[in-house]
Symmetry: C2
Subunit: 190 residues, 2 copies
């Protein structure tokens, strides 16, 4: 049993399941239609709380193994109470976590054993945009985001860099940030 597990798992990724998933989706493409969801409730001031519980995927309603709650607030210098990271900081988490998951998957598929993957993300933003103090030349969002990876494993420099590159090419969050994504907002009052 142990030998079998070791043979199919690398970097904590079950390689057999990874390829079986790709095969299954190739055969039945409806499996790949997902809808992720989040429910947010205003707490007070700029402080709110989001719950993640269920999502749709693989042709069925699914529940996470456990419900997760996260909170956001503005920092004190932005008229918040700093009860939690600001919304824009979660975007930095999302890009780092997405690329890192991809690196582990690609490494597993390519037979590379990783020993370390860490990253720092920096997002530069000029708040003249969101404060409405710009003449329109300053955007509301990040002007640029920089991700710096430190990666180690049993492969040469070019192979390790290749993992990051392939992860970027297949990253959902990288695409969401670098290409326009339609966002529709509906409002129900009263």
């Amino acid at each position: 049993m142990t030998a079998t597990t070791e043979a199919t798992s690398r970097n904590g990724v079950d390689v057999a399941t990874l390829f079986a998933t790709l095969d299954a989706v190739s055969t039945q493409k409806e499996i790949a239609s997902f809808q992720f969801r989040a429910s947010n409730t205003w707490v007070n001031g700029t402080h709110s709380r989001t719950t993640f519980d269920g999502f749709y995927g693989a042709m069925q309603e699914l529940e996470h193994q456990h419900v997760t709650e996260v909170e956001s607030d503005h920092p004190a210098v932005l008229v918040g109470q700093d009860e939690a990271p600001s919304p824009v900081e979660y975007v930095l988490h999302a890009i780092a976590a997405c690329l890192t998951a991809g690196i582990a998957n690609v490494a597993a598929a390519r037979g590379v054993q990783l020993t370390k993957v860490s990253s720092t993300v920096e997002g530069d933003i000029d708040l003249l945009g969101i404060l409405g103090l710009s003449d329109g030349s300053v955007r509301n969002g990040y002007q640029q985001i920089k991700v710096t990876f430190h990666i180690e494993g049993d492969a040469d420099d070019a192979t390790l860099r290749g993992l990051v590159d392939q992860s970027r090419r297949r990253s959902a969050v990288y695409d969401v940030l670098t290409q326009p994504t339609p966002v529709e907002i509906e409002v129900v009052t009263g």
Copy 2:
């Protein structure tokens, strides 16, 4: 003391501080240059952990009131262990939290007392993109994101809708999602 607090605070937003901040930034625009940061560490498989501690803003290095850690993983149907919400789900949190903070601020500035703001966010994604099983016509990221707000307060329907609209116009995360954001990736190996 209580009377003063009540007079300057609405929806948990200190209105005097809000306007003072706008005045200060108008006078010295360097205050508005911020850099937010996140540090991510790979745990195992598609599971990673992000720490938020410090950021730069208002012309100084700043620390959050407390350090926050969040985790991401892929769901089991995506070859993960489902230890935490997926990276793309945090994007849904970010847009909800950003718009909600803005709604509270705009309401405070406009003299509207809110009694409830909640939202659900749905992000549709076809995983043929990230799985590399598309002919290139399916994007990696969300095809669309829909945010549905339920909002109540001491104002009429049009005024409440106007709060959401103004928040959208000044939202950092809405801009990051709907307009392309440059993402640079640097890799250090070994």
